[in-house]
Symmetry: C2
Subunit: 249 residues, 2 copies
Amino acid sequence: MPISNVRRAGHPPLAPEPCGGCDVRHRGLCDCFDDVHLSLLASAAVVKEIDKGQVFVREGEPADRFHKIRHGTAKLFKTLSDGRQQIIAFATEDDFLGLAVSDVFAFSAEAIEPVSLCRFSRRQFRALAGSYPELEHRLLQTACSELVLANEQMLLLGRKTARERVASFLLEWNAHDKRSVGDRHVRLPMTRLDIADYLGLTIETVSRALNALRREGRIDIPSPSLVVLRDRPWLENAASGLHDQALAF
Amino acid sequence: MPISNVRRAGHPPLAPEPCGGCDVRHRGLCDCFDDVHLSLLASAAVVKEIDKGQVFVREGEPADRFHKIRHGTAKLFKTLSDGRQQIIAFATEDDFLGLAVSDVFAFSAEAIEPVSLCRFSRRQFRALAGSYPELEHRLLQTACSELVLANEQMLLLGRKTARERVASFLLEWNAHDKRSVGDRHVRLPMTRLDIADYLGLTIETVSRALNALRREGRIDIPSPSLVVLRDRPWLENAASGLHDQALAF
DNA sequence: CGGCGCGTTGAAATCACTCAAGGCACGTGG
DNA sequence: CCACGTGCCTTGAGTGATTTCAACGCGCCG
């Protein structure tokens, strides 16, 4: 029986495990804390439920807090003054937000499906980091993998064709999304517009590329929000630019 | 009189200051070490002189070392199998290389002008980090600012026009290059092809955009490798997408 | 002097974009 | 139950920003 049920059943221990009811207590960044240190953080942490469409971080705002996503999916994005939007990343279960931060947030964040997240005070987080080196070590690891992903995305945005971008996206999201890892299904909780804003394309181009891949038998699209990878090796080649791109839509 | 001169004059102290002859001993990441800790690193550090055009880091190679640039400029890039290239960043004086690393390098690095750099063993670096938390703190700060820059570059690559990209590049490089900060000059040690590979454009488009800005009086180009910012406010607006982009080349 | 690397410029081609229309699923209200 | 509106996706046709292809200029160097 999960701890959360124990607590909800009305038997709060005298010294409850901090975050005891949290499904992701031992996943992502939180796993690096022992109970004693986590309780220091937990006292300043708040669980928030974010509705779909709600913006919970705004680019340029003072960065006084960090977030860890418990459930759901959010998009992190930057905008130009005329409304052009670039999605930096999709954040999902277990992901930690708040590294691309100086004094202000470098991006905005919006829930694209209902999100449950844990909000930490940045001040207390920093204080804890001072006395608990393992935390900074984990943060550094996290930042480095984000950097590797960002570099890969720069290659995509600067040099790949529309079809290559879409193939790359399907594979990347399949590997990243906790609910589809290891299987041929790709859940797409984001709209075509979100995908376009992530890949530096337009909505029409994304749609055309997806349906071209479908017509060629590389993927199935049982519903707009679900893609099945039928020919992963081919897609992997396409994503790295190996295929003849002369095929028309 | 700088310490380096003292040592070169033939008076080595019995316990020499580690890295005593290094111009950038107190700049960038190295500044966070005291002499005692630095000497631990210095014993494993090697100064290397890299010729222009030489590739000193290869994407996919085991990442067993870090580098700090003492002088000169390098490009960090990724390539697709057919030769398409995306430059991730230009690294210059004081910059630290090696964060976008898991077990292997995420990018290649090539000197675009002669580079003098300091190479550390990654193993010893990690060991030192364990006993010296300040180091990881600084690394984390560095990684976070790289992440902010990477996000800005994704916006550029995904959503800006050619002219906006070139204006952004001139301002960014002017702010980054140690030899031109605070004045209107922008040294361009990289070729037009390098600029194109950084901005996700072709060499011709970069050339056309630069000369269009020149004809409109926003910049001067006294030589291909030197640009003077004549109208910085206008360029800043252009870089953030505020101007009418309908002007033809 | 001739070759080479690099940058510039012109003309034509193209990939992705824009504009426009239509389909489908879903929810709401008559 | 059906009509209708709305949001999202798809598809077609035409446009356009950037690329491609090609030529030329210039400085450098053997």
